[in-house]
Structures are given as structure tokens and as C-alpha cells.
């Protein structure tokens, strides 16, 4: 087995990936960076895009992130994602529908509780739509 490096990908909501890889590619703001084991300490914001891991045996893992932070220490790479969602989890139609549903709920104002919930739903839907559109532009 070749040289490997520990990789941790976490979002504000969960641990996305934790394991070892031979190479990590991440969409830094100045362009994609590739990180091999033993890389010098590096820190950079990430833009929306794909984090790609070579996990050996020609196998790869993909993660979609809408932005975040990349930190490289010689022995560990940390990707702090703002909202990391697995790329195939995205479903634009569902996101738009959720947003409409939430907006409808806002229109007929029932109770304070419903409004708070509806607002939260709108926020999620809006973020997902933005993410999908960014993904399409690429």
C-alpha cells in the first residue's frame, strides 16, 4: 500500500467522510489543489465544487460541497464544509417544491410555530437550489 494521509470531511451537520486516501483534490478559491501525503501546512477557503479522494486501488470518492475551508497538516487533511451534500442527493425539483410549500405555509399565517418551521424550510430549499445551479454552471 502506498503512502496515505488521513482525511476528515465534516459539515456543520454531520461527519461526511473520515478515513485515509492517497491523494485529495479540493476546489480552493484560487483553483483546484491536489494534496499528497506529507504536504506542507496549507489553509485555504474552498468554493463550491467537488472534493475528490483517491482511496487506492484506482477507486475514487466524490463529495459535493457548496464552499468551506481546507486545512492541510502533514499528517491530516481537514475539509470543513459549509453544507456538504452528496452530489447525487440533490434534487432540484424537490428543493423548489419544498420552497413553494414553505412559502404557501407562510402565506396563511397560522401559528408562530408554523411560521418558524416554514422559514427554516425556505432557507434549506433556497440553499439547495443555489447549490444545484452552481453545479450545473460548471
Amino acid at each position: 500500500m502506498a503512502n496515505t494521509i488521513q482525511v476528515e470531511i465534516v459539515s456543520a451537520k454531520e461527519i461526511i467522510f473520515s478515513g485515509v486516501a492517497e491523494m485529495v483534490y479540493a476546489p480552493a478559491v484560487l483553483g483546484e489543489v491536489g494534496v499528497a501525503p506529507g504536504h506542507t501546512p496549507l489553509i485555504s477557503p474552498l468554493k463550491a465544487g467537488e472534493v475528490r479522494l483517491d482511496i487506492g486501488n484506482k477507486e475514487e470518492e466524490f463529495f459535493f460541497i457548496t464552499g468551506g475551508i481546507l486545512e492541510v497538516q502533514p499528517h491530516v487533511v481537514t475539509v470543513l464544509s459549509d453544507a456538504a451534500i452528496r452530489a447525487d442527493d440533490l434534487n432540484e425539483a424537490a428543493a423548489i417544491e419544498a420552497k413553494q410549500r414553505a412559502e404557501a405555509a407562510l402565506a396563511d399565517q397560522q401559528s408562530e410555530f408554523d411560521i418558524a418551521k416554514a422559514r427554516a424550510e425556505i432557507a434549506i430549499a433556497a440553499a439547495q437550489i443555489a447549490a444545484i445551479q452552481k453545479l450545473r454552471k460548471r
Partner: protein, 286 residues
Amino acid sequence: MAGGKEIKTKITSVQNTQKITKAMEMVAASKMRRAQDQMFATRPYAQKIATVVSHIANAHSEYKHPFLIERKLKRAGVIAISTDRGLCGGLNTNLFKKALGKIAELDDQNVEIEVVTFGSKALSFFKRIGAKVTAEASHLGDRPEMSAVIGPVQAMLSSYVKGEIDAIFLVGNAFVNTMTQDPVVTQLVPVVPSVKSELSHHWDYIYEPDAKEVLDHVLERYIESLVYQGVVENVACEMAARMLAMKNATDNAGDMISELQLIYNRERQASITQEISEIVGGAAAV
């Protein structure tokens, strides 16, 4: 039988109250489980970003970010996290006591205070004591979103950057276990780094694009994540405290019902005894 009917009505009304508190207890219990899950799910991010920030603080960078520099304390910001609704025991009261303690301490040093609140209870409390509330967010629901936290935090951070305030404190509840929730005060800015001995050698990051931009980005996320973690933790605290308060209320209602039932039975027995003795007395007279 005097008062029998009144006692019966009273028992029914207490029983109805008990049904409500019992229902609230069960709702809070199930919500607490979810809130706890969310709290544990958001923890890794908070821990990772804290590690990154401690690395940054230990790096020998030429650029010193304002969030890492200690200034003379003249004005301070307080971020207070409370619940939106009551009926959760002493949770908010204890929190406000803690916050008042901190404010009094700052007041002694002639430090002026401004407040950012999360949750409508904190908003109404700080309004009532006449504090300067600069931003607020309430009704975040049982599953608060990161996006709801960003606005108010940004408001406070920008006044720190402008030099209007010299430190930011976070007052929130820490979830110890279902029985215990502790109000805690933490200093957010200037960031208090943990010193790591293994990083004491002279080293620095490669910053892309440059140190200022990167640190701005990272430290902002860090503060936001701390506040978000506080908000999420507070939901778990709220549910746990409510569950406990409602359990106590249900138990008390049960005690009250059995006491009332005892009085009712005694009353009933007394009236029967009286009736019998009247009949016996009547028969003897004949």
C-alpha cells in the same frame, strides 16, 4: 353531603391539567432525543474548526488577525441564547442570573454592554432590564438552521471589527445530561487559543490567497459554529428541562388528585354515617 360536588369538579379539573402536562412531557421527551442527535451531529464540525483555529493561533504568522489581538476592554458584546417558550423550569431564569452576574462584573470595570439575543425569552428579558439589544433572532424552531445564526453574529462581529466593542461573550446553556443543564459564559472574541506544545516550533501555513482573507474566513466560521453549537445545545437543554418540569407537574397533579380523592371519600363516608345514625335515631323514636 356538602362540598362533595365541588371536590369532584376540582378533581376533574386537576385531572385535565395532568393530561396536558403528561402530553407535554412526552412531546418534550421525543423532541429531546432528536435535539440531542442534532447536538451530537454538529459537534464534530465544532471540534474540527476549533482544532484548526488553535493551529492558526499557534502558527507563527506575520499577520495578526484582529480577532486574535487582545484590546483594552471599554465596551463588550454579549450573545445570549435562550428558549422561545416558557414552561421549562428554571432554565432561562438560571441563564439570566448567570448573564446578570457577568454584566455586573463588567459593569464594575466600567465596561458598557450591548446584547444580541437568540430566543424571545432573552429578548424580552434584556428589553425589560433596559440593556441595549442590537440584534436578535427568535423562533428558530426545534431544528435551528446555521443560516439563522449568521445574521446576528455578523452584526456583532462587524461592530468588533469597527472597534465599537472590544470583546464578545457568549452566554448559553451547556447540556450536561437530561437532569442537569448548566449556564456558562464563554469568551468568543478575542479568541482564546489552546497552546499546543507539539506546535511550538517555528512554522506557518501557506495561505491561499493571503493570510488576511483566509483568517477572516476561518475565524468567522469558527465564531458562527460556536454560536450555532450553543443554539443547538440550547434546544436540547430546553426539551430536557421541559420534560423534567412537566414530569414534576404531572407527579404533583397525581398527589393532589389522591389527596382530593381522600377528602372526597371521607366526606362521602361521613354523610353516609350521618344518614344511618339519623335513620337509627328516627327508628328508635318510633
